[in-house]
């Protein structure tokens, strides 16, 4: 889970990493500008990179100028994100920009500390052009840094003694923040040295492991909670999110609603439908063992989409049982009496029990099930997909 810059800097402060003095301002708290020393830098709080080039990092010499620029920024869009907050910080006189990051190296499968004496927006170019400029230190999983290790690294970077302790301190605290909060990434770019020889984290990029957040209740106390990392959502995506369904519109003109099992086949289904000339409307993931309510909400999302002409459904029962799935689908049909055809396939664990549920429901309500087909193990999934595409094309 990515944190906003100002949230990352809250964590930095807790861990004694120096950050410039600043305040967070939204449309209701512009009076906070009284607390700042000018000149200031005004930084839009959004996830997308390239803020400098996009003009959503601004400078102001005084309160009047700051207020004017902030009012311009708030509500403006940057990529898919709407700027709701800005961070206003005292402007520093910068002498040098460095790069430092602690992250999980998914190739080496180890925690990694990376440093570079050149930091800033071009760090990826620097890394490409001169890989040797990036120093890398690998550590054992879960182990915190000793102070002496941070010092040794600061010493190897060759800082003069007046900066030594400041840099060693940032190395020590950033890495241990990374371990303590179980981050995927804790990055400072740039870490700056000011003209008066002080060290500050000018930016903060922290990415937390959602699956470890249960161990860090203090994050919630700090107001750091789940957020929208994708940017603006469609109306349907908002409904899905409210229902706890991983869902994304992939083609606004897509006429095949995809009702898959897990995320893995959800992705594969998009490729296969596209491959055979169909237009899938959405990505969706039922997760591990979805509840009846969730499965019904998923179906509802697709049925309510006016562009969707046919539902393609698939359940290969592993941990998610076919009978549970069948129950939910049948209930949805009985409750909502949908008109759209459903072309589906069901196989795997508890398949027999599932099939019985469908058959009985169909016997009682044949008219409700006349457009609903449930294929089994012996029909290749791609034949089912092709049929769904055909039905979509035939439906006007």
């Amino acid at each position: 889970m990515r944190l906003y810059e100002f949230e990352g800097k809250m964590l930095f402060k807790r861990k004694k990493i120096p950050v410039p003095e600043g305040v967070v301002i939204d449309k209701d708290t512009i009076s906070e500008l009284d607390k700042v020393f000018y000149p200031v830098v005004i930084k839009a709080q959004v996830f997308a990179g390239g803020r400098g080039k996009a003009g959503i990092i601004q400078f102001a010499q005084n309160r009047l100028e700051a207020e004017k620029k902030i009012i311009e920024l708030l509500g403006k869009k940057h990529g898919p994100f709407v700027i709701e907050k800005v961070l206003v910080e005292r402007k520093l006189d910068i002498e040098q920009e460095l790069y430092i990051a602690a992250l999980i190296d998914r190739i080496a499968h180890k925690p990694l500390l990376m440093l570079c004496l050149q930091g800033g927006v071009d760090i990826e170019e620097i890394a490409k052009a001169n890989p040797g400029a990036i120093r890398k230190y690998y550590f054992n999983a879960g182990e915190k840094l000793f102070e002496f290790q941070a010092k040794r690294i600061a010493g190897e970077l060759g800082f003069s003694s007046d900066l030594f302790s400041g840099v060693a301190n940032v190395i020590f605290n950033l890495y241990n923040l990374f371990i303590d909060y179980e981050c995927k990434l804790a990055e400072i770019n740039p870490l700056v040295i000011t003209k008066d020889r002080k060290v500050f984290a000018l930016d903060a990029k922290v990415d937390l492991d959602e699956d470890a957040m249960f161990r860090h209740p203090d994050l919630r106390e700090m107001g750091i909670v789940a957020r929208n990392e994708i940017g603006e959502l469609t109306e349907r995506e908002k409904i899905a999110k409210a229902a706890g369904i991983p869902y994304a519109d992939v083609d606004p003109e897509g006429d095949i609603g995809v009702f898959p099992g897990g995320a893995g086949f959800g992705i594969a289904a998009l490729d296969l439908i596209t491959h055979y000339g169909g237009r899938p409307s959405n990505f969706m993931d039922s997760g591990g063992a979805p509840t009846q309510e969730k499965l019904k909400a998923m179906l509802g999302l697709l049925m309510d989409n006016p562009k969707v002409k046919v539902i393609f459904g698939a359940r290969f029962g592993g941990i998610s049982r076919c009978d549970d799935w069948a129950k939910a689908v049948v209930q949805y049909i009985l409750e909502n009496k949908p008109q759209k055809p459903m072309i589906m396939r069901m196989a795997g664990n508890m398949e027999e029990e599932g099939r019985k549920i469908f058959e009985e429901a169909k016997k009682e309500h044949p008219e409700l099930f006349k457009n609903i087909k449930i294929y089994a193990y012996d029909t290749p999934i791609e034949e089912v997909i092709k049929e769904a595409i055909r039905v979509a094309k035939e439906t006007t």
Partner: protein, 291 residues
């Protein structure tokens, strides 16, 4: 032989008294898997589907010293401890069904497993099956038939559809391995490919990857060295791009992580690329000059 599990494998189930684990204990037993014991702390002395339950893995192995494989079904926050307990007690293959295990936990577990020479599969794996011999996990038996194709996939359902697709074309599986859906896994494609390459009962391997992560690209150089044909199926070409891990991610992982980067890396190293599920058995047969 197959890989990881076979006819003679004795297995245990950690977290056996949970509802899911109990259900799949039943299904595994029905399939013929030799489950010699289960573990749930504080529930020692009970029985689940006739399987004796112990308080600790060590107690279980004291009674059943020939057990070498454990499957883990405990909630995510207990998974690290459960896997470490299995490793500490002497289990050789740990199949981690549990999903969404904290990343730093999994890194730690990987290190300890490596030190002790233990194979960890998953987390978030549907399990492993050597059809007709042994099933550890929750894969649906109907999807698999005995045969000579090894399969390994990140997604559970894709694992089933691939086997289904092979079987409908008259082929079967030596072993099918669910690599797991979590971001950091106990074993990656390369680890499993190496086992298949050594396995006399496997003639060809199907590997199925998807957008995100780096495991597909990392396996590519090894594929070049392999004698057995590898058929790769990579999904996600039509999916929206995932988020990036800051500058740091780009520095370390470069351009890895897209469906195209994976397909290119695999193709350039000799893997045969299947565009669809139905193409998989066609390519396997072609590679093995069958029919």
């Amino acid at each position: 032989m197959a890989i990881l599990i076979d006819n003679n494998t004795k297995t245990i189930v950690q977290g056996i008294t949970g509802a899911n684990a109990a259900l799949h204990t039943k299904l595994m037993l029905e399939y013929g898997t030799k489950i010699v014991g289960g573990v749930t702390p504080g529930k020692g002395g009970q029985r689940v589907e006739g399987v004796p339950v112990y308080d600790t893995v060590a107690q279980c192995l004291k009674e059943h010293p020939d057990a070498t494989v454990s499957s883990i079904w405990v909630p995510a926050r207990f998974a690290k401890e459960a896997i470490l307990e299995a490793i500490d007690a002497g289990i050789k293959v740990v199949v981690v069904i549990t999903e969404r295990i904290p990343i730093h936990d999994m890194l730690y577990v990987r290190e300890k497993a490596k030190e002790k020479g233990v194979t960890v599969i998953g987390g978030n794996t549907p399990g492993v099956i050597s059809p007709g011999k042994c099933l550890v996990g929750m894969l649906p038996k109907i999807a698999f038939q005995p045969g000579r194709v090894g399969t390994v996939a990140r997604s559970g359902a894709v694992t089933y559809y691939i086997a289904n697709s092979l079987n409908l074309a008259g082929l079967g599986e030596s072993t099918s391995v669910g690599l797991g859906g979590d971001p950091i896994l106990g074993s990656n494609f390369e680890d499993i490919l190496k086992l298949f390459e050594q396995d006399p009962e496997t003639d060809a391997i199907v590997m199925a990857g998807e957008i995100g992560g780096v495991y597909e690209e990392l396996a590519a150089p090894y594929i070049k060295q392999m004698k057995k044909p590898v058929i790769a199926y990579i999904t996600g070409k039509s999916a929206p791009q995932g988020k990036r891990l800051g500058h740091a991610g780009a520095i370390i992982e470069g351009n890895m992580g897209t469906a195209d980067s994976k397909i290119e890396a695999l193709k350039n190293n000799g893997a045969l690329i299947a565009e669809t599920l139905s193409e998989i058995p066609v390519l396997v047969k072609k590679a093995l000059r069958i029919g």
